[in-house]
Symmetry: C2
Subunit: 196 residues, 2 copies
């Protein structure tokens, strides 16, 4: 092996990225060092900058650099509706639809007993405090439609209903643009049950 220490260290560090194995990491390290050293320095800088400045919004728990994020501070938004999502990426997806004008709460994860992630790890207590501020009237659960997402929605829903809040869930159904023949049976069954 002609590779020396700082290259090995870089490959090991790249492997900590999700979905990156040893071959991808080696390819990334080679690309950066051979073709894009400016990119490597930009990434180094962006990482330390983000770690240093990103914290959680005091109201919705998403990443932000200020005490409270822009969305939570926006007076145009409907503060009576609170949408609960798993990650900032899910929030971005909802924002891009431009169909929701309320506020968010970002769990920054989901309940996943197999991974040892319980209700306390996703800030359930913080969500309950947030949702019972007296202004929120409806909580819309927009966690993913996976086993973990459904579990999370169920747990959150039970806790919120006990406090007398109206709790709704994103509709399950046939995706727009899809042909029934290729839609899975569980989705069709749900779309039938929830027909309108």
């Amino acid at each position: 092996m002609s590779t020396t220490n700082s290259l090995d260290t870089l490959i090991q560090a790249l492997r900590r990225l999700p979905g990156v194995g040893v071959k991808s990491a080696a390819r990334m390290a080679f690309h950066l060092l051979q073709h894009d050293r400016a990119g490597a320095l930009a990434l180094s800088q962006a990482l330390s900058q983000a770690v240093g400045s990103m914290r959680h919004c005091a109201r919705c728990h998403t990443f932000c650099e200020a005490e409270v994020c822009e969305v939570c501070l926006d007076p145009e938004r409907d503060a009576t509706r609170l949408c609960v999502v798993e990650t900032p990426a899910d929030q971005s997806a909802l924002e891009r639809t431009a169909a929701f004008h309320g506020l968010y709460f970002v769990l920054m994860g989901r309940i996943s007993p197999l991974d040892g992630i319980g209700p306390n790890d996703i800030g359930l207590k913080k969500l309950l405090d947030r949702a019972t501020d007296g202004v929120v009237q409806e909580v819309i659960l927009a966690t993913n439609f996976t086993a973990e997402g459904e579990t999370t929605a169920h747990v959150v829903s039970e806790a919120l209903k006990n406090r007398g809040l109206r709790v709704t869930r994103l509709a399950r159904g046939v995706p727009v643009g899809s042909e029934l023949e290729y839609v899975d049976l569980g989705t069709i069954a749900h779309a039938l049950a929830d027909r309108r």
Copy 2:
């Protein structure tokens, strides 16, 4: 959008990694900031460290921190055989076989006219100087068996043969452990032609 500047900057920087699109970059940024800030700092450090210290071996052109890499300095190696590879990863693959005890020359790329990469960009002149040091007797071309790798092998081979060196190429044939039925026809044809 609740994402703020240093998060966007990080996502953009991660996209410069090969094979990483905007969704993967967002997932990586989220993972690092939410679950592995130590990993983010380690990666930041490893990147700036590697960019600062990695340069090219004066003899074989691979990445190394010293003037000449460990392989080139190893007196146990057979200096009469020089193996030409495209990348340090290819060199590692050959080293892991423990079947080659000569020295290497790492092109750090391949000739690829479509990408504007010609013979000068892969250090052909440096290779010719290296191979005509009076000690090297055989040059083994171990570039990849892709269109670009074959082109590179052809160009390098012609240049070296003009200087009276013995030039060989890794054997093409049926991979060990494979069933003929599933091997592509070009490979079988080459294996037939090169039968022994």
